[in-house]
């Protein structure tokens, strides 16, 4: 099992402690706090020994398609280790251009079952980053039921929604005030808070609570998960130590319980690993 990381500060990429890094490409990725230019990606690919994955997870518009083609060709030539995609235009271009570039199915809230994983695998998609709204049991079933390489996000402030609209700008316009590009909002009944980040592509929503999946890493390791993913956003002060310790934990076959105890400090929120969502609130009729 490998450790894959998405960072939130360019100065510190933890390249020596991790197996792979996710680099969101400027203008072509959303739901990330940091993005990289193509030149930066090339440099990191050249200089690092870890795997380099590039995130191209926007909903693309017609006018993006030619650039997207060129980027995919360039990434293919660079022998990037994989591209995270949301929009099926990416898969179509890969097919048309006969690119060798490995793809990761990353339709944020949709990667929830093994049959669709197998469908994408049959179309040449090598990896899937499973949705964050499914249980650990469902992840286990997917791992058992597909030969695709599975990635599971275990520690992060999860991204939970994305709008093409400039929601923070609009809010401050109504207030007749100058606002920034970030805002924390709280829903009163549930007491759930979200961090909103806006750029020219739209507004990303992140849950303002850390998902602490440290306790499930051992199971994921036993079930031969290909990658676990950690995202730094909101954990900058201790993320370096966390990834170092996690790498060490994996190298010791995930048997060192002191690691799990140490990271209880991340909190007890385990997202949907142990909680099923409901969707029918009344009977028909």
């Amino acid at each position: 099992m490998k450790l894959l990381v998405e960072c939130s500060q360019k100065e510190q990429l933890y390249l020596d402690s991790i197996d792979g890094i996710i680099l969101p490409l400027e203008g072509f990725s959303v739901e990330s706090v940091l993005s990289f230019s193509m030149d930066e990606i090339k440099r990191i690919k050249r200089e690092s020994h870890c795997e380099v994955f590039v995130k191209l997870n926007k909903n693309f518009m017609n006018e993006d398609i030619e650039d997207l083609k060129n980027i995919l060709i360039e990434l293919d030539q660079l022998k990037i280790d994989g591209v995270f995609f949301y929009d099926l235009a990416v898969l179509q271009i890969k097919k048309e251009m006969h690119l060798m570039l490995p793809l990761i199915w990353n339709q944020t809230h949709m990667v929830n079952n093994m049959k669709t994983c197998n469908y994408y695998h049959s179309k040449g998609v090598e990896y899937a980053l499973v949705g964050k709204e499914i249980t650990l049991e469902e992840i286990h079933e997917i791992l058992e039921g597909t030969s695709m390489k599975i990635m599971v996000e275990v520690v992060s402030r999860p991204s939970v929604a994305f709008s093409k609209r400039s929601l923070i700008t609009n809010y401050y316009h109504d207030l007749q005030k100058e606002g920034g590009n970030s805002l924390t909002v709280t829903e009163g009944v549930s007491n759930r808070s979200f961090r909103l980040l806006e750029n020219e592509d739209g507004t990303s929503f992140f849950l303002d609570t850390i998902t602490n999946g440290v306790g499930v890493i051992q199971d994921l390791y036993r079930w031969k998960t290909s990658y676990i993913v950690m995202r730094e956003y909101g954990m900058e002060s201790f993320f370096g130590e966390l990834v170092h310790d996690t790498k060490d934990y994996i190298q010791k076959n995930c048997e060192d319980s002191s690691y799990v105890l140490k990271y209880q400090k991340l909190g007890d929120y385990t997202n949907f690993f142990f909680q099923k969502t409901i969707y029918r609130v009344k009977k028909n009729g």
């Binding site: 518009m61 179509q92 949709m110 609209r165 400039s166 316009h173 009163g188 979200f194």
Partner: protein, 395 residues
């Protein structure tokens, strides 16, 4: 020339019948499983069969939504279910999951598959992918401009469907799990709690809201037809009969007037007014002619109004006696209108009103009770005609 399809929502069998009578060319419905409105009164297999028979007799079509984002457990019985509903006679599936698409296409090549807007398809290259997977139609994302829709239509060999009317999601469809995180209700399996219409506290003096105005594309229907869009979808499987009759009847009239070259500015004004009166929110055309902005949102709560225009639903009309179920208060002396599935709109002042036992009444004040109006009409006023207020006598 083939006319553009007018596609209506239908939350139950009665809505299916009414909306087809009012001019929809096709309806989309949800079965008891796998639809994104898990809490609507969805159709049983027997109702699907009856709905298909009714539609097919009129030469119209029924599309079934199968557009949840599937978990493993949802996959267990879906294949059997697909066989069952095909047997009921449905004409098309609306699907978001590509495995389900491939399953349907390999087992039932005669049944159409439409890619749900849940996929938020927003470019011609993604359409091309699904075209090669055998999809017959793509329902585009609601975040596209006229130019973008036009380019997709021009570059695609399959039908393109767009939403023209109804409520909007703030986020890309399928790309939102706010409901899961706030209410534990699964947004992508039909449990969406519409969290984007909630209010959120910030450190500012006023709450943060992101609720959107509804979509109303009436003024651009001709543009959309000229672009080559094949189907116009109205949102709202949980909307009332009156709402559906008004909205579908009005779009039917706009589309027909376009094709017979009688759509004048004056007529459009009347049509727009009808749509505005039945709306419970303000409307916008969102991304169609500009980048969506400040003007497309609400900044104080949900922004919904209750609508008291709807007075009654006609049961029958014989010998100048109009029998109807009352829905909202009205009285003798009010100026009201009866409108029919055939598109007739007749206004009159209420002069004689009776209760179910034919006792004279001055007011109708008991919703769901049967009343009679004495009034002569020169046209047929069939069942499912609707009554609405135009002007109250005290106004």
């Amino acid at each position: 020339m083939d006319k553009v399809e007018l596609l209506s929502p239908a939350g139950d069998l009665e809505r299916l019948k009414v909306t087809l009578l009012y001019g929809a060319d096709a309806v989309y419905i949800g079965g008891e499983k796998y639809s994104l409105r898990a809490n609507a009164n969805n159709f049983s297999l027997a109702e699907i069969r009856e709905g298909c028979l009714f539609a097919h007799k009129l030469g119209k079509r029924v599309h079934l939504t199968l557009n949840i984002v599937f978990h493993n457990e949802d996959m267990e019985e879906v294949e059997d279910y697909i066989h069952e509903v095909v047997d009921c006679g449905i004409d098309a599936f609306i699907v978001s999951d590509p495995f389900i698409i491939s399953y349907i296409k390999s087992h039932f090549p005669q049944v159409e598959v439409h890619l749900s807007t849940q996929n938020s398809t927003s470019n011609y290259k993604a359409v091309e992918y699904f075209q090669e997977e055998g999809v017959d139609r793509v329902v585009l994302a609601r975040e596209l401009s006229k130019k973008q829709i036009q380019e997709i239509v021009e570059k695609s060999k399959i039908d393109i469907e767009v939403f023209i009317h109804g409520a909007m999601c703030t986020c890309f469809s399928g790309r939102c799990a706010l409901s899961n995180y706030v209410t534990n209700r699964d947004a992508n399996r039909g449990g969406c709690a519409q969290v984007c219409r909630f209010q959120f506290q910030t450190t500012e003096e006023k709450d943060f809201t992101m609720a959107l105005k509804d979509m109303n594309m009436a003024e651009y229907i001709e543009d959309l037809i000229e672009i080559g869009v094949k189907s116009f979808k109205v949102e709202g499987r949980m909307r009332s009969l009156y709402y559906l009759a008004t909205v579908i009847g009005t779009y039917r009239a706009i589309i027909d007037s376009h094709y017979d070259h009688t759509l004048t500015e004056e007529k459009m004004k009347v049509f727009q007014e009808r749509l505005d009166r039945v709306a419970n929110r303000e409307t916008s055309t969102h991304y169609f002619m500009k980048k969506a902005d400040y003007t497309d949102q609400y900044y104080s709560g949900r922004g919904e109004l209750s609508n008291q225009d709807y007075l009654g639903q006609v049961i029958s009309y014989h010998d100048d006696l109009l029998k109807f179920y009352e829905r909202n208060y009205f009285e003798v002396g009010d100026l009201i209108e009866v409108f029919t599935p055939a598109g007739d709109h007749i206004s009159f002042v209420v002069s004689e009103l009776y209760d179910e036992k034919m006792n004279p009444e001055m007011v109708a004040r008991h919703p769901d009770q049967i009343y009679y109006l004495k009034q002569h009409f020169d046209v047929s006023i069939p069942e499912y005609s609707m009554l609405r207020i135009l002007k109250r006598k005290e106004d």
